[in-house]
């Protein structure tokens, strides 16, 4: 799936537009990998042209 977004929050809004509820689910409960680097909290992460995004459940442990 391709989206147009320069920042993590823009990505969240775009996901919510296309799949209502998904964006807020991603924002609250998921980590993301941007071009191979995992961000547990990605508010200040920048997205470049062609960035590959993976949605991953937030990492927690025992």
């Amino acid at each position: 799936m391709e989206v147009t977004a320069r920042t993590f929050l823009a990505l969240v809004r775009e996901l919510d537009t296309r799949f209502p509820g998904l964006g807020s689910r991603v924002e609250e409960g998921m980590a993301i990998a941007i071009d191979g680097v995992i961000y547990q909290d990605a508010y200040d992460a920048k997205l470049d042209d062609g960035s590959e995004i993976y949605l991953i459940p937030k990492i927690a442990g025992g």
Binding site: A33, V37, Q40, Y54, P57, I59, A60, G61, G62
Partner: protein
Amino acid sequence: MNIVTDNKWIGQRTIRPDGVDKVTGRAAFAADTTMPGMIWGKVLRSPHPHARIKSIDTSKAEALPGVKAVVTARDVVDFPIDKSVMLGIQDMRWMCRNVMARDKVLFPGHPLAAVAATTEAIAAQACALIEVDYEVLPWAIEIDDALKPDAPILHDFMKFEGKPSNIAGRLEVKKGDIAQGFAEAEIIIERSFDTRPVHQGYIEPHACLISVAADNKTTIWSSSQGQFMVRAMTAYLSGIAQSDIRAIPAEIGGGFGGKTIVYLEPLATLLAKKSGRPVKMVMTREEVMRATGPTSGSKSTVKIGAMKDGRIVAAQGTYYLQAGAFPGSPIRGAVGCSFAPYDIPHVLSVGFDVVSNRSKVAAYRAPGAPIGAYAVECVLDELASALKMDPLELRLKNAAKQGTKAAHGPVYPRIGYIETLEAAKAHPHYSAPLGKLQGRGVASGFWFNAGGESSAQVNITEDGNVVVTTGHPDIGGSRASMAMMAAEVLGIDVEKVRPIVGDTSSIGFTHVTGGSRVTFATGMAVTQAGERVVHQLKERAAQIWEIPVEAVEWRDGAAYPAGSNAGGFEPMSLGEIALKAARTGGPISSEVSLNAQGAGPGFGVHICDIEVDPETGRSTILRYTAVQDVGKAIHPAYVEGQIQGGAAQGIGWALNEEYVYDSKGRMENPGFLDYRVPVASDLPRIEAVMVEVPNPRHPFGARGVGEVPIVPPMAAVGNAIRAATGVRMHHLPMSPPKVLAALDAAAKAS
């Protein structure tokens, strides 16, 4: 980041700061706490695995002399089912229903009410007087039973693919084209496995003492893996503002993930608020086993396709994990970790979160990862055997390395999996001779490791010593490693550094102790705080010497003029500068709060030698070596302890531990006599081999180490039993009756 390598303290085995208190009995655990006017709380728990609560009558309990308060679900803040409220990874909809049943009880041991009274005996007596009218419902505990077409549905709101279901969620990780991968493969092996739920087995039961003043000022002493988590969950569930709650961490007697959520604190808070008295609650061992989260039981199917030269081209895993009464099994661990050590072009890994009528799952050391690794590493063992390849060579041929794209998303930074495999292969254990009825098994394991929010303060005392305050309980030696990092940065003797664990009112927000994050994330905060203090010390020296701060350098715990042009001043020690702190600008201290990203993943490789008694099915571990990439062992003895402890827990999971249920769905073995964890006489000394491939994202190269070691043992043990007997065990635990039955079946078949 430039990693500091010329270290005085990092890598040393310093005296542990909590050792004397713990061996002399002075360490204050939650159950040791008392307060004037304290009363006792007890919980009424469901005897049924599944029942509707038609009514609860607490009047007789309330009338019993000595009873000061009774609470039920109506006292706990409700979180409606239709709106998720996340606190970290926990959904408060499930937490509020887990600490106190609403409408339905969903497992034997599910709390229904709590009573506070002047003695424990009166509180227990009052619980027995509470009258509950149940409509008993059919129940399902095992995954197979919960997934049957006519299975009793635990939650009316839960649907999967449009139909009422006990499947709460599905997680998929995909890379490449799995059909193409299997089409290319020259050999394919597919096997199914199942595991039983096991408990974290911490030796200290949950305990807390809580007082609530008339203005809601609340003080909590409790055993937990995170005082900020305790504060937040108690606030959410009691309705008291977080700013009114001070959560003080007691020493903790083990957690392993099981204490990253709360059970007693919200109830004790509500009882304390209602009664106006401090309330103490301590679980019995039976309550711990029946009513606190074990980890998931599971059913897994793994299929691996490879070329004849050993290159793995396709890997598929399907994992069903038991969540217990509410959603939240660790499918992320099984799905994300199981193939993570390998560079495989085509991967499909799918997990299903299945609710059933037993206590809600809680995290257990690398949650979900051991389950996935058990299946994958056993199939890899069979693949190696089919290809007539050395099992470590097979893993080396397919090992992930820096630049490998993992199926779950990241591109690996500098990692140490290949070095770990090579160290295992070169270890004398791997080539030691074996006798009759003996077998050797190997297995690998992976864990993500975490970073997250941490705060740390470094304060210089007027007498020139240092206090380092951090914000999370010490469950693995973090006080020692924080003191060492501070001493290293400040250039002073580690004995001059006192590490303490602050409460929620005395230090900035810190995430739980878990996820193998503390040495990485809090270590980063301590290092940064120490560096800022060094800058302040240089500024003070510059002021005293009346030279620019750039002309001052700091080394070996003292300020020096940086070169002859700076002036011919004698070095000024930290102590000398501290004495003049008030006159040179005030207190010398720094607090750093950060959200650490970039925790490096961890890899382990275990070698297990086993002897199987064909008469009894008993497996005896003869020798066990656990090799792990630890980044940099800040305090080697603690790191070895983490590796040995995780391996021991994995061995217990493999060989003996399981929940046994009666015909009424109740646990029959809720105690350490019948729930069989390994004890010292069961195991040989576990040799921990530390491979150090520094994590470039940490100032001293540290990686998380605590969780990786529980991931390989189940498969290492299973592979060793197969090597010793020729029989593959697909069901855990591989206890003597099960091994004997498998040996007998194999003998009959042949």
